[in-house]
């Protein structure tokens, strides 16, 4: 069962995330729980592999919104790192690597959520 402590151990800024949910722990955990089957990381990996920077940007942007609001810091940092060069449509060779990092952090998060 997902707990605030588990998220804290994951590296989430749970204090900030809870505050955004008016300190309603059940609501916060419910929101985080909605990330359980999130597929944005996979979509990001695919878009980057295809060289579709626009699609990659949109996916990263969407994912960042949820992660930021819930203060899920490790995944948030990973997606922020790839989002900024994507916003500028920079041609880079390390996108697959950065996408893989996002995928790893999301996998870690989803493992915690699934308990």
């Amino acid at each position: 069962m997902l707990t605030v402590d588990a998220l804290k151990a994951y590296g989430a800024n749970t204090e900030e995330g809870l505050a955004r949910c008016l300190n309603n722990e059940a609501f916060y955990l419910k929101m985080v729980g909605m990330m359980k089957d999130d597929t944005h990381a996979q979509a990001l990996t695919t878009a980057v592999a295809e060289g579709n920077l626009q699609a990659a940007f949109e996916v990263a942007h969407a994912l960042k919104g949820s992660l930021a609001n819930l203060a899920l810091t490790p995944a948030l940092n990973a997606v922020t790192d790839i989002l900024e060069p994507l916003r500028r449509r920079e041609e880079r060779t390390d996108y697959p690597e950065m996408a893989a990092r996002v995928q790893r952090e999301m996998d870690r998060l989803q493992t915690i959520i699934r308990g």
Binding site: R20, C21, A62, S66, N69, A71, E84
Partner: protein, 566 residues
């Protein structure tokens, strides 16, 4: 935080959150759901569909930018293009670095950045709703919806600010009014009336264009203009009249009252009161369409206002005295007392006797005439009852029924109550109704007068000959006597043509099967002339001036004595 923060005037506002991310939607909804009713949409298209149905009830849209199907920028663009949606404020939800500037240029009212910070979210939403609603209220009350000119309150607000901002500039207060606007409205319809008002509003706006002056529609067909001092008021009026006449394709008479800056004794509103007073002075005066407020009018106005203010106290403390002027039947061998007319006098503690010619028009204007009429009716009825008790005969007294009384649904009841309280038959009170009441409000007047007659009251048409009764109209008038206007008596002499005039008036009455009452008769020759012409009843100084009850009793006693001798 106080859960009432989102309530303005106690109302819970409705907001729409548009965001494709369910987590962001839910978190934002949770942040503000205690204070607002929240609706959700996943993309711009869904939002527009919902807004079309709820455009009148929604207070704010919180709009994410990056969404599938229709993004925020496109949604905002379509809202601003829509007549019904463009007034709804939009706050854009953005991540740092997104296109805040672009969306603000596109019509967004504000933006909130993600991730959300509770206090900022709440404060920006509350402030935006308040500002937009305040602006809408100001727009609603600032201008007159029909003409687009300022409303009265804002006019005075801005005019005062203008005075303060330009203390050296000399300004004039102008009041413009349309003659017989209510008739224009009735005859041509409300839409045509509105068109006329708009035409006058437009003409004023044109006149003010390029000046520092401002204008407003004060009420109905009265417009105020505050304009830099000029001596060319006549030209202004001419131009405005020409524009109005052209716009409505017909005759519309605009009149204008002016209070110039030479009058510095009163405040801004006072100066417009004075300009209005000047404007009222020339109502119906076809020779003058422009009038200036001056000192003599100021004195008159102050005097009139004092009288108006003191009316209630005067009624309460019995300052109004009822006098009686006898009416004599001159058809027999000797004049016999037939009836009397009750005439009111105001015994003012400071001014002495105030002429009815001065206070009656004031009371007719402000509606106090109804209270005064009732007072006179009651006093007269009590007097008739007292004389009946003392002399064993009913001496009918005629009382005035003002035009305004004819529109009072309780008129008959008021009269009956007074009569019954004194146990008098209806014939004891004769009702004098001025000719102009018949001619100006024909249908209403005839219906009411017919009902009074049906209840047994006798009606005298007062001031006959001063108005414009057509002979044809007279045939259908419910009337029991024609009372010839006193002006006829003052004007005539014993010349042949005057005799002919009197004979004609008597003839008209004969055709209507009613007697004539001549008032203002002062000389014996006039009585002879009336008698020769076949006139029946005479009232005037020749027999007696109006008298208080006690001296009048001597007249009754004299009549009784003469009757006994005969």
């Amino acid at each position: 935080m106080d859960a009432n923060y989102g309530r303005i005037n106690g109302l819970r506002r409705q907001l729409l959150i548009v965001d494709d991310d369910p987590i962001s939607r839910a978190i934002l909804g949770n942040l503000i759901g205690d204070a607002y009713d929240i609706a959700y949409a996943e993309n711009g298209r869904e939002a527009l569909n919902w807004l079309e149905r709820a455009s009148r009830t929604v207070s704010l849209v919180l709009l994410d930018l990056m969404m599938p199907v229709m993004d925020g920028v496109e949604t905002l663009k379509r809202m601003k293009e829509s007549e019904t949606l463009r007034q709804i404020p939009v706050i854009v939800l953005t991540s740092e670095g997104d296109a805040e500037a672009e969306t603000l240029r596109g019509g967004a009212t504000d933006f909130i950045t993600k991730p959300y910070k509770e206090e900022i979210v709440r404060a920006r939403i509350a402030r935006t709703i308040e500002l937009v609603e305040d602006r809408q209220i100001i727009q609603t009350v600032e201008t007159d919806r029909l003409t687009g000119l300022y409303s009265k309150d804002f006019f005075f607000e801005y005019a005062s600010a203008m005075v303060e901002a330009h203390p050296g500039i000399v300004m004039d207060a102008l009041v413009l009014d349309l003659d017989h606007f209510h008739l224009y409205n009735e005859m041509r319809g409300r839409a045509a009336g509105d068109q006329l008002l708009c035409a006058l509003g437009d003409a004023i706006r044109q006149e003010l264009s390029g000046t520092i002056g401002i204008g407003c529609r004060c009420q109905a067909d009265t417009f105020f203009v505050y304009i830099e001092h000029t001596d060319a008021h006549a030209s202004i009026l001419e131009r405005i009249t020409a524009r109005v006449t052209e716009a409505v394709n017909g005759m519309a008479r605009v009149r204008m009252g002016v209070c110039t800056r030479t009058d510095i004794t009163s405040d801004l509103e006072g100066r417009f009161d004075r300009a209005k007073s000047a404007c009222n002075r020339i109502r119906g005066d076809y020779l003058h369409a422009l009038a200036y407020y001056d000192d003599s009018q100021y004195e008159q106005d102050i005097h009139a206002q004092r009288l108006i203010n003191e009316t209630k106290e005067a009624l309460r403390s019995g300052q109004f005295k009822v006098y009686y002027q006898p009416k004599y039947d001159i058809t027999g061998s000797r004049p016999t007392l037939m009836s009397a007319e009750a005439l009111v006098r105001w015994q003012h503690p400071e001014f002495g006797i105030v002429s009815p010619g001065l206070f009656i028009p004031l009371f007719e204007d402000n509606g106090m005439i109804r209270a005064l009429d009732s007072y006179v009716w009651k006093t007269a009825a009590r007097q008739v009852a007292e004389w009946r008790k003392r002399y064993g005969r009913v001496i009918p007294v005629s009382v005035n029924v003002s035009r305004i009384d004819l529109f009072d649904e309780s008129l008959l009841e008021r009269l009956n109550n007074i009569r019954e309280a004194n146990e008098l038959p209806p014939e004891a009170l004769i009702l004098e109704i001025t000719e102009s009441a018949y001619t100006e409000d024909t249908e209403q007047a005839i219906a009411v007068i017919a009902s009074l007659r049906a209840a047994g009251y006798r009606i005298e048409m007062d001031d006959f000959g001063s108005g414009y009764s057509s002979l044809n109209m007279l045939l259908h008038m419910p009337v029991d006597a024609l009372k010839i206007d006193g002006a006829f008596m003052r004007a005539i002499s014993v010349r042949e043509k005057d005799k002919w005039l009197i004979a004609t008036l008597v003839d008209i009455a004969r055709h209507l099967n009613v007697p004539t009452v001549f008032e203002g008769v002062e000389e014996e020759q006039q009585v002879s002339m009336i008698r020769e012409a076949g006139g029946q009843i005479v009232q005037g100084y020749y027999f007696s001036r109006p008298l208080p009850p006690e001296p009048f009793e001597q007249i009754i006693e004299k009549d009784i004595k003469e009757a006994e001798q005969c």
